[in-house]
């Protein structure tokens, strides 16, 4: 009497086919596997028999998804969503495969699908049950989310009592209640500090959020007002799209909708293969990226001694483009996950690369799971991109993902270049940082957290026919926008003392990378305020291309006890504008002698105290360059000098420019003298160089003697520990003795995680969804 029956629960009847959702999904996978076509669809019956009807359906649904995003985002108050557009809506079929997605952070083409698949594999239809009007909320990074601040609302779509699909909406919230404030904080080293974590929880019934959820979730984060408005944004968008699907079915019929939703995925699969054949070149491409994780520094204050070490993320990729247009992305040799917040779930990787590919290889509206089915992913288990331990932190998975994917873009650019599509070449990406984050009591007297999304406008990589764009974009959001100063000053108790193009931040080359920008912020009218830095400093995460240099690395500037309150009161000089040349710093000349200044390469810190009138420099990175710098046109260098994009010293040293400056400060380059100087530079290059094989003998000795910083050896040791293939290739390349080895144990640094790990799949009653070759 007090229990619901299976009839009421509806087990096996959701699809009105007698099959459970799992049986339904397994059958699709089996048909895809055995035929090579998504769901066995060798023929696209609907598309081929009624192409106009098919396209009309496509346009209605895709237009509706974009419309829902544009409308719903106006509900949000968070500038991350409302200004930066960090939201996305996606339509899935009943098996959780993506049909279509809106604009925005389309990394989520597959992340919410992974959550749906997790619900299917773990029998959510029996418990907690799936009914019309339900809402599920998830942000669990162990089952496919990118990072915990991407909160997803997932709504099932029913028609005539039958489950026909799902719609998901995701927003990037400002705070997740992690150990430290901000959506992507650094103060934690594990999942348990990553903040409020929700695993596909039923949070709404009959289109109403449940009250326990509303009460619990809002008090679990620092910014409840933003949180609840973000939730309303997601729900509104999902319901708009659900209504759209109902309208489409009323107009075109269920059969047409269901056929479309399968065929469009198969079409997406074929579409990627045809784009690959139309734009690239078959063969093997090998690239690699690195990210510094400098956790030994005193300004990294964490609660775990075992995480206090410097380490390096290693992301080698072998991209094989096959003659049939399929491709394989193989990350064998990648380093192990670590005790920080930059680890990534396999789905964050496989789903996320499409946000980048939509900016190069597949710049179409037809982004769906079809592309996934045309791609072989090899992400070895235990690596940073496929952790094998359920404790891993993911708050800023992007830090590694962005860098790992940049290598792919460089590989593709090699193919575009060799094929003659020079206009498509991109030398690589900026390391999309710094991330200004922090919190405390804001200018309105409320508990608050901040995460400045100015990083959405870094410099882009150079092209093979033009410079990269200055302060323009971020790989993770094709519609990035740096946001208006006035809006940021409303959202953050931080006044702007400058917002300038960052000199010398773009990588040099015949075509230079786009410059980043820098903003100088002064804490104002806050109480108990904290901030921290997050970005690259000791290393560059991306390379230049074909003779172009990488962009500049990051550095940090912060100042305390500045005396600015008094200086403002008496009208004394102030630090304003850009930090033009960190080699000849000027800000310090406008601070009191008592000021405590930190200027160094430690671009990763944890929550530190800031008083009103303290300073923080937010430096957003530039992009890498393309081609030999001494091929750069004289007029382009002159322009860079006059716009302060380039410091004179480096115009001379890197570009060989010979110039004069007139009384008004205008630079003029002498083309003839520059030509002569460049001839000398060629000679100087050869005079200081060695034949590569000679240099290799010296480097081999350093390896034999284990002469390298601990962090470098640690990176190799973790890669060796996971990959025999990488180890053997390394030893073969350097002709190392058979018994040469490098183990973590010999490095004198903490090795927690090197031997003892426990994957989520080992927990009772949990079935994880594996979508890659491990």
């Amino acid at each position: 009497m007090n229990m619901m029956s299976t009839k009421e629960i509806g087990i096996g009847n959701l699809l009105a086919s007698g099959m459970t959702l799992k049986q339904h999904r397994d059958a699709i996978l089996e048909r895809t596997q055995s035929t090579g076509y998504y769901n066995g669809l060798e023929n696209l019956e609907f598309r081929d028999s009624d192409p106009i009807g098919y396209e009309k359906l496509f346009s209605k649904l895709r237009g509706g998804l974009v419309h829902a995003r544009e409308t719903a985002k106006k509900i949000a108050a968070s500038p991350i969503v409302e200004q930066e557009g960090e939201l996305c809506f996606t339509l899935y079929n009943a098996a959780g495969d993506c049909i279509l997605t809106s604009t925005g952070i389309i990394i989520h083409v597959g992340t919410m699908g992974a959550a749906i698949k997790y619900m299917i594999e773990n029998n959510w239809e029996a418990n907690p049950t799936i009914n019309p009007g339900d809402m599920f909320t998830t942000n669990d990074c162990a089952i496919g989310n990118v990072h915990p601040c991407d909160i997803a609302t997932i709504v099932p779509i029913f028609w005539a009592g039958k489950l026909i699909g799902w719609v998901g909406g995701v927003t990037h919230v400002i705070d997740t209640g992690a150990v430290t404030p901000g959506s992507m904080s650094t103060g934690q080293t594990q999942r348990f500090g990553d903040g409020y974590m929700i695993t596909c929880r039923k949070t709404g019934i009959n289109d109403e959020p449940l009250r326990d959820w509303l009460h619990e979730s809002q008090r679990s984060v620092r910014t409840p007002k933003y949180w609840i408005l973000d939730e309303k944004t997601r729900i509104a968008g999902c319901h708009m799209i659900r209504e759209l699907v109902e309208e489409v079915i009323r107009a075109d019929g269920l059969e047409a909708y269901e056929k479309f939703s399968d065929e469009v995925i198969e079409e997406g699969r074929r579409g990627l293969m045809s784009r690959i054949k139309a734009m690239t070149l078959p063969g093997k491409y090998r690239k690699v990226s690195f990210v510094d994780v400098p956790y030994k520094h005193e300004d990294i204050q964490i609660s775990n001694a075992f995480a206090k070490l410097d380490s390096i993320m290693h992301s080698p990729v072998e991209m094989t483009i096959k003659p049939d247009g399929k491709w394989r992305l193989d990350f064998e040799g990648a380093s192990r996950w670590g005790w920080h917040t930059f680890n990534a779930h396999q789905v964050a990787f496989t789903s996320g690369i499409w946000v980048m590919m939509s900016q190069t290889l597949v710049p179409t509206q037809r982004i769906n799971d079809g592309a996934y089915f045309a791609t072989e992913f090899h992400l070895p288990k235990g690596t940073w991109c496929n952790p094998d331990d359920r404790r891993t932190g993911h708050a800023y998975a992007w830090h590694f993902l962005v860098s790992g994917w940049a290598a792919l873009w460089r590989g593709l650019s090699q193919s575009y270049f060799s094929r003659g599509y020079l206009e498509e070449v991109n030398a690589g990406n900026a390391n999309t940082s710094n991330w200004l984050q922090g919190g405390g009591i804001n200018q309105d007297g409320e508990i608050h957290a901040v995460n400045s999304f100015e990083a959405s406008s870094c410099g882009t990589g150079a092209c093979a026919v033009k410079d990269g764009l200055n302060h323009a974009a971020a790989i993770w959001n094709p519609e990035g926008d740096m946001g208006d100063i006035e809006i940021w000053e409303m959202a953050e108790p931080l006044l702007y003392l400058g917002r300038n193009v960052k000199s010398n931040s773009g990588g040099y080359g015949k075509y230079r990378g786009g410059c980043g920008f820098e903003t100088l912020r002064m804490v104002w009218n806050a109480q108990d305020w904290t901030m921290f830095f997050m970005g690259n400093g000791y290393m560059n995460s991306d390379w230049g291309m074909m003779g172009g240099y990488p962009s500049a690395t990051g550095y940090r500037f912060e100042a305390h006890n500045t005396g600015l309150k008094e200086r403002i009161a008496i009208g004394d000089s102030l630090p304003l504008g850009g930090d033009l040349d960190p080699g000849a710093p000027d800000y310090e000349r406008h601070l009191d002698a008592t000021a405590v200044v930190k200027r160094d390469k430690q671009c990763m810190t944890t929550e530190d105290c800031y008083d009103n009138h303290d300073l923080y420099l937010n430096y957003l990175r530039g992009g890498p360059g393309f081609g030999d710098p001494i091929d750069r046109e004289v007029s382009a260098i002159e322009n860079d000098l006059n716009q302060k994009f380039l410091l004179p010293e480096f115009a001379e040293k890197v570009y060989g420019a010979v110039f004069t400056q007139d009384a008004k400060g205008v630079f003029s380059i002498d083309a003839n003298l520059t030509k002569q100087r460049r001839t000398e530079i060629r000679k100087e290059r050869l005079a200081r160089a060695l034949p590569t094989r000679e240099w290799m003998k010296e480097e081999r000795e350093r390896i034999i003697n284990k002469h390298a910083a601990v962090q470098v050896q640690h990176m190799f040791a973790t890669s060796f520990g996971l990959s025999e293939k990488f180890t053997q290739e390394f030893k073969d390349f350097w002709s190392l003795p058979a018994d040469w080895q490098l183990l973590e144990d010999e490095l004198g640094v903490p090795t927690y995680g090197s031997k003892h790990r426990m994957d989520l799949s080992l927990m009772p009653d949990v079935k994880t969804v594996v979508q890659v070759e491990e």
Partner: protein, 167 residues
Amino acid sequence: MSYTNEQVSHLVEGSLDWETTFRMLSMPKDNSRFEQYLAALQAKVGFKDRIVLPLAPHMYIVQSAKTKQWLIKCDCGHEFCDYKENWKLHASIYVRDTEEAMTEVYPKLMAPDTQWQVYREYYCPTCGTLHDVEAPTPWYPVIHDFEPDIEAFYKEWVHLPVPERVD
């Protein structure tokens, strides 16, 4: 969609007008581009070897006019190696592995710490052209970064006869 040989030559020179460049970016790709590209490059180089595949602004896989071997060649005429080999192993290298060497090319604080990362500059041993800058950690193997499947590309993708090759 197709473009004139003159337009493709301008693209190679970096002097194509923005309107046409934008059209190239936004419209479906022109299948004839590869042939036009090869012709534009062949007209620029001072050697008689046939360009099989461009690798970088000053580097090509060529078919040797004398031996028909496929070689990797700089546009100054320097021959690096067989096309299947890693040309970097036959280049001249300069490694920026000190702070002093790094601050030659970047302002203080804006270059990597060489305890973490070094820059390897690969030059043509004859003309000193900078063909590539690697930015790896110390110890990292010299990456063989591109092994094109030229036969499949010519035969199956652009439907052109594969140039003769003598190994």
